[in-house]
Symmetry: C2
Subunit: 428 residues, 2 copies
């Protein structure tokens, strides 16, 4: 299908064309790129070498590919992203209409097509604000059962609005960045009186398996994004691990929400998968997007407002033994990203290109489909890994690997790996 040799198992098939920011050993400059098979196509070199010449409409925007982030490209809006993606798919096809651009241009291939193994990935966009939602109903229910029992597991507001909170933008890092185990205040015996915490490294360090959306188009303060326009304000999606120190969180979060238990790190995959690439995998979410029970500002035109993206969480020990701990699916969301964006802006909050919206932890209903360790172990029942070792939470040296891949072999649309290894806590 492509003149370029692409492995059938690659998440970056010709059907994908995700955008990211790379640098190389030769050039430390951060430049835009797409991932295709085992290669990155350097869009900075491609653009300045006339790669976009046939796309005459786009000529006046070429400078967006000479920037160190994708914010300017994102801000151009969905019709432009679509045009560029479809053009690049054409250029990479066997039967390309533009063979002279790259297929038959060995010089440009050599300059612009770089093995992924030789590039360094960076954050794809500069993130002004990061918000984490809680739209994974099964996760909210599982945590609610642990905290309050099954009868009151979900709070009264839960189905009326996408519950969310502001997160820490500065500590969002790209896949591969090591994660230092945090120290903090922990209440070891919640039933004692008086309640006196200890200061200690977190002993309940966990992952949260999430999707996240980058905002493309801004809105003015005081002017909400209408639900029917919200999808066109989204650039694309990444996989996200919202690292969480459960013990620090339990002590600090009343009454204003999670803070230091979350703000030490959040890991995302480097390649932004455009919504257009995910459109073939559109599938029903947990409830219809056009359900009558929603206020009009949240009611979508379409009932089918989620994506069928199988997700998995693999845990690799310091000794190198790997275990797939859980498998979930992105269908397990009660609200879509357009609904989250409509809600985020309903009071007038202004969004900017590069703002990041997390979905909330995506858990299935069955055992083995939990998007976090605390749900699977209930914080006390260990799981057994492939090498026979046990885990309730993460240990030093553990590597968490999240994956999400839609579609079928040969035409996968995936995110690649979302990876982080736990370093031991500092001695304070």
């Amino acid at each position: 299908m492509s003149w370029l040799s692409i492995s059938k198992s690659s998440p970056f098939s010709l059907a994908n064309i995700p955008f990211g920011i790379i640098s190389t050993a030769k050039s430390t400059a951060h430049v835009p790129a797409i991932a295709i098979g085992d290669y990155a196509l350097d869009l900075s070199v491609f653009a300045s070498s006339g790669g976009f010449s046939p796309l005459t409409d786009f000529a006046r925007h070429l400078d967006v590919f000479q920037q160190p982030t994708l914010n300017a490209f994102a801000a151009l809006g969905r019709p432009v992203h679509r045009q560029v993606r479809e053009y690049l798919q054409n250029v990479l096809r066997d039967d390309t209409s533009y063979p002279q651009v790259l297929k038959n241009n060995a010089v440009l291939q050599k300059e612009a097509l770089l093995p992924l193994s030789e590039v360094t990935n960076h954050l794809p966009l500069q993130i002004g604000d990061y918000t984490d939602f809680y739209a994974g109903l099964n996760h909210a229910y599982n945590l609610g059962v642990i905290l309050r029992g099954p009868d009151n597991a979900l709070q009264p507001n839960y189905k009326h609005l996408p519950v969310g909170y502001h997160g820490r933008a500065s500590s969002v890092v790209v896949s591969g960045t090591p994660i230092r185990r945090p120290n903090g205040q922990i209440l070891t015996n919640p039933s004692a009186t008086p309640k006196v915490p200890v200061f200690s490294p977190s002993k309940r360090l966990d992952i949260e398996l999430e999707l996240a959306a980058f905002v493309s188009r801004p809105n003015q303060m005081g002017e909400p994004v209408p639900i029917d326009e919200a999808e066109d304000h989204i650039f694309g999606l990444v996989l996200m691990n919202d690292w969480s120190a459960r013990d620090i969180q339990a002590w600090e979060y009343v009454p204003l929400g999670p803070f230091c238990a979350k703000n030490f790190a959040t890991t995302i995959t480097p390649w932004v998968v455009l919504l257009d690439a995910l459109e073939p995998f559109r599938a029903p979410g947990l409830e219809p997007g056009d359900r009558e029970s929603l206020f009009p500002y949240l009611r979508e035109k379409r009932a089918v407002n989620a994506y069928d993206i199988p997700l998995e969480f693999e845990l690799k020990t310091a000794q190198g033994s790997s275990t797939v701990v859980s498998r979930s699916n992105a269908k397990n969301l009660l609200f879509s990203f357009p609904q989250m964006l409509a809600h985020h802006t309903i009071t007038g909050c202004n969004m900017n290109p590069g703002d990041l919206l997390g979905s909330g932890t995506i858990s299935g209903t069955e055992s083995g489909a939990e998007g976090s360790l605390v749900e699977q172990t209930r914080g006390k029942n260990p799981i057994t890994l492939a090498d026979g070792s046990q885990r309730i939470f993460l240990e030093d040296g553990d590597t968490a690997i999240l994956r999400g891949t839609a579609g079928e072999e040969g035409s996968y649309v995936g995110f690649g790996d979302c990876v982080g290894t736990i370093l031991p806590a500092h001695v304070v």
Copy 2:
């Protein structure tokens, strides 16, 4: 004391020298400035005209005053801020050591000294992340009494750590920006079953009287800021109004904290008052900064860790009638900004120059010293304004004006007015 005529009632006396960002009708470029009396001194013009020539150490940093924000200046660190502030005080003194720089330089005076009434203020720094704390113990107690009664007013964690949450950086605006009343989901009858919200303009729109600190020096992810170094990571303070829609907040905030009820707007004063300018007003906070009950990472060397800054909240109606609704003092804090910063980073969160930390609402213990309307009215007992009209919360057309001024007539160190006028809600 200054060769420049400075009104005795100005918050910007020679003892202050706060830094900000301005533009003018003549030049729409955003440039650094200081406020002195009724003037702004344009530091871009001052620097490029040799104003800093006697300060030879500073020559290599002059480009920080050709930037549209103060982030680069802030990042230079406290010793440089101190040197520049003291030099500018010298230049502006009657008995200046450098009369040729400005006192006897009519041409530069004309170019660089601009009437404050003719300049437009902008956000002083680009804010990467904004965090709001809750260190006003009396406010936390007052709200706790309303929600849970006096016996459980403060949560068990409250005195162990500065409770805080991540806020929305994009909607922090400079004093004078009009504030659109938000629409949102509201539970009008909390005791009904089932709990079903309505969609409506907020009917309980409130202010929160706060101080806020800008971060100057960054720290690396995973590397907490030690408490003894934390003060030197702070650039200076501003006054802040953390606008709050109490009815939207009550419905949305469980379990992850305030979100849309806060993220529609936060107003700050434009002039950053350096900590050095506030040092003469250092005063005991609600508890000693070196108290034994704190973990070492929060224990300061000094017991006296607050500032004696009288604060007030004036409400001006659409008809122009003004009433000082409450008077408080910045001493009413349980934790200092250095303690907030040490706590914010204890799990490893990385801070950047320009990050903003709100103190939490600063209320006194007596009646008339509340930092928000909900505390003063309990959400039901109206206050009577000077024109005889009544308020429980803010009405459309109301202007909230916060002020904070330390010191005495002739040598005030103040923030100027923190102003916002309520526009009617959009019809959605």
